[in-house]
C-alpha cells in the first residue's frame, strides 16, 4: 500500500510514533505511564504485532485495547497471561534480563543519559521534590535498550543532572562498569519534539542522530544545556502517515488522555 504522509499532527503524536519505531515484534517491553504507553501500544497495533508487554505493578503480557490511565490502572491486567506481583516483573523479568526495551522519563536528562526524577537542590532540603525512582532505576540499571520520550526544553537537558536517580553512562564510557552495573553498555535513545539523540557507547555521550521535520540543528543546540555531537549526515524523522495517525487517535488513545494537543501544529 502506498504511504500517504500527513503534516497534520502534533509534537506528541510524532514523538510517540517515532519512539514506537525502535520497538521490534520480538521485543519484551516494560511499559511506563504516559507517552511510552502510547508508543508501545501503537507499535503493537502497527509494525510490531508480536511485541509483549510487562508492567511493574505485576501484569504480564496483557492485551491492552487502548492506553490505560496509569501502570496501576486496573485495566493494565486486561487479558494478561498472569497478574502477579511487582517483584515478579521488576525482579524476575527486568533484573533477570528478560526485558529488551524499557521506557524512562524524568525532570532532567543529561549528556550521559543520566536521569533525575528525585529533586532539585540539596536532597536533604530540596527546592523541588519529585516523586523519586519508582521502577525507573531498576529499568535503567538492567535493560539493554532504554527509550526516553520528553519535551525538549533547555532546563530538561542540563550538562549534568542535579541528582542521578537512574544511571545512564554516569560520567563517561566506563561509568557503568566502574559503578558495578552488569549491563555496562545499554542503548539509550531520546526522542523529543525537536530531535532524536542516541548514546554513543564509546564516548558515553548522547549524539544527535535525527531532526524532527522542519527543525534545525541550531534550534536543538539553543534548547540544550550541552552540545550533542552530530552522528553522520543529519536525517529527518519520517512523517506519520494518515493511516498511522488514525490508529493512534482512534484506537490507541481514543479518550485523548495523552494526546491532548491533537490539533496543534508541530513546533517549527
Amino acid at each position: 500500500m502506498e504511504k500517504v504522509y500527513s503534516e497534520n499532527y502534533s509534537g506528541d503524536e510524532l514523538m510517540a510514533i517515532e519512539a514506537s519505531r525502535f520497538i521490534k515484534s520480538t521485543d519484551t517491553v516494560i511499559l511506563g505511564t504516559g507517552l511510552p504507553m502510547v508508543a508501545a501500544i501503537f507499535a503493537q497495533k502497527t509494525h510490531a504485532v508480536g511485541v509483549n508487554f510487562v508492567v511493574e505493578s505485576g501484569s504480564i503480557d496483557p492485551i491492552l485495547p487502548f492506553a490505560p490511565f496509569t501502570v496501576a490502572d486496573p485495566i493494565i491486567g486486561h487479558m494478561a497471561v498472569r497478574t502477579g506481583s511487582l517483584r515478579e516483573v521488576l525482579g524476575c523479568m527486568v533484573q533477570r534480563g528478560l526485558v529488551d526495551v524499557g521506557f524512562l522519563g524524568g525532570a532532567e536528562i543529561d549528556q550521559f543519559g543520566n536521569i533525575n526524577s528525585t529533586c532539585i537542590g540539596d536532597p536533604q532540603s530540596p527546592k523541588v521534590r519529585f516523586p523519586g525512582s519508582g521502577g525507573a532505576n531498576c529499568i535503567a540499571s538492567c535493560v539493554p535498550k532504554i527509550l526516553i520520550i520528553t519535551e525538549h526544553e533547555k532546563r530538561r537537558f542540563p550538562a549534568k543532572v542535579q541528582f542521578i536517580t537512574s544511571p545512564g553512562y554516569i560520567d563517561g564510557p566506563d561509568g557503568r562498569k566502574k559503578a558495578g552495573l552488569k549491563m555496562a553498555k545499554p542503548d539509550i535513545i531520546v526522542v523529543t519534539d525537536l530531535c532524536v539523540m542516541q548514546i554513543n557507547p564509546d564516548t558515553g555521550r548522547l549524539e544527535l542522530t535525527k531532526l524532527m521535520p522542519g527543525v534545525t540543528i541550531d534550534e536543538v543546540y539553543k534548547n540544550t544545556g550541552f552540545e550533542p555531537r552530530l552522528r553522520g549526515k543529519m536525517g529527518e524523522v519520517e512523517l506519520p502517515t494518515e493511516a498511522e495517525l488514525k490508529i493512534l487517535r482512534e484506537e490507541v488513545d481514543p479518550n485523548h488522555i495523552y494526546l491532548k494537543e491533537f490539533s496543534k501544529q508541530p513546533r517549527t
Binding site: 505485576g58 486496573p74 506481583s85 525482579g91 533484573q95 519508582g134 531498576c138 544511571p167
Partner: protein, 308 residues
C-alpha cells in the same frame, strides 16, 4: 496469643487500629497509585491520631498523602511518592521540601526485595540496581545504615549491593476477598503486597467482602496469603475509594482531582478537606455517602464491569 491462629479476626476498622497501630510504628502501605489503596484504614489511623509514623512501601500514593497531610508522619521509606497522571502528592512533597518529614529513597525493586528478605526471615538481600545512582549518596538522618556493597564471594571482582530486610510493625492493605480467619485473595495486579504482608509483624486487611473459608479451601491455588499473616479483617465495601479495586469499581477521577486541588492549595483549603471528608465522618460509609453515595458508587462499579 500465637499469631498463627485460626481464631475469628473480624472487627471494625476502629478496633483494628486501636489494637494494632501505635505511636511511632512503621506502617507498611498496600496499594499502588490508584489501585487498592487502603484509604478506609488510613482514615481511621488519622482519626485516632496515631503519630510519629514511618510509612513504607513501593508506590506511596493518596492514602500516604492524607496521613502526611494530617501531620502524623515523621518519615517515608519508599520507591516513589506520587499520583502519576494525577500529579504530585503535594502534602508529601511539601513536607519534604519544608523539612517537616524525612525521606529515605530506594526504588521499587529494592523495596520489594527488602520485604522479600523480611518475609523469609533473613537479615539482608542482594539487589542489582541503585549502583552508580545518587540514591546511594544520601540517606535520611535517622537511617542507621542504608546499604552495603561487598565483593561477590563466589565471583571475585563483582560488586554486589546489599540492602537490609524491612519488617513493618503494622501493614494496612485493601483486598477483594478475605475470610473471617484472615485468608486473603488479591485479584488482578498484586503490586508489592504479597511480600509486604508476609514481612510485616502484624497486618490489618480491609476487604470488599468476607467469604466462607470453604472458598479458599476449594480454590487453594488462588489464596494470595494464608491466615497465618493476618491479624485483623475489616469488612469495608469500597474501602479503597477514591482508588479502584479490580473487579469491583473503578477509581473516581473527579474526587481524586478534587483532592489534588485542595492538597495543592494547602493550608486552610486542605484542612477543610480533612475536616469534611475524614474527621467529620464517623464511619467510612459516611465518607462514601458524602462523595455521592449509591449513585456514584454504582457508576464506578459499572465502569469497572465495562473494563472487564
Amino acid at each position: 496469643m500465637s499469631k498463627v491462629s485460626k481464631r475469628v479476626k473480624v472487627m471494625s476498622a476502629q478496633e483494628a487500629v486501636e489494637n494494632l497501630v501505635f505511636h511511632g510504628a512503621i506502617i507498611g502501605m498496600g496499594g499502588q497509585n490508584v489501585t487498592r489503596c487502603a484509604v478506609a484504614l488510613a482514615h481511621e489511623i488519622i482519626k485516632q491520631g496515631k503519630r510519629d509514623l514511618t510509612l513504607t512501601g513501593c508506590n506511596l500514593s493518596i492514602h500516604m498523602d492524607l496521613m502526611v497531610g494530617a501531620g502524623l508522619v515523621k518519615k517515608c521509606e519508599f520507591g516513589l511518592g506520587g499520583l502519576g497522571r494525577f500529579g504530585a502528592t503535594f502534602q508529601f512533597r511539601r513536607a519534604i521540601e519544608e523539612r517537616r518529614m524525612e525521606a529515605e529513597d530506594y526504588d521499587h525493586l529494592t523495596m520489594v526485595c527488602r520485604f522479600l528478605a523480611g518475609e523469609m526471615g533473613i537479615p539482608f538481600i542482594p539487589v542489582r540496581g541503585l549502583m552508580g545512582s545518587d540514591i546511594l549518596k544520601y540517606q535520611a538522618p535517622s537511617t542507621k545504615k542504608k546499604f552495603e556493597i561487598i565483593n561477590n564471594p563466589w565471583n571475585q571482582g563483582e560488586k554486589v549491593l546489599l540492602v537490609p530486610a524491612m519488617e513493618p510493625d503494622v501493614t494496612i492493605v485493601h483486598v477483594q476477598k478475605a475470610d473471617e480467619i484472615g485468608n486473603v485473595l488479591i485479584q488482578g495486579i498484586a503490586c508489592h503486597e504479597p511480600e509486604l504482608i508476609r514481612a510485616s509483624k502484624t497486618t490489618i486487611v480491609s476487604c470488599e467482602e468476607i467469604v466462607p473459608t470453604r472458598f479458599f479451601r476449594t480454590n487453594s491455588d488462588s489464596t494470595t496469603v494464608p491466615y497465618h499473616y493476618i491479624d485483623a479483617v475489616v469488612e469495608q465495601r469500597f474501602g479503597a475509594y477514591p482508588a479502584a479495586t479490580t473487579g469491583y469499581y473503578s477509581f473516581d477521577a473527579d474526587h481524586i482531582n478534587y483532592y489534588q486541588q485542595r492538597s495543592r492549595a494547602g493550608g486552610e483549603e486542605y484542612k477543610k478537606y480533612l475536616n469534611e471528608y475524614v474527621y467529620g465522618c464517623e464511619t467510612f460509609d459516611d465518607v462514601l455517602e458524602k462523595c455521592g453515595g449509591v449513585k456514584r458508587l454504582n457508576h464506578l462499579h459499572r465502569e469497572m464491569l465495562r473494563l472487564m
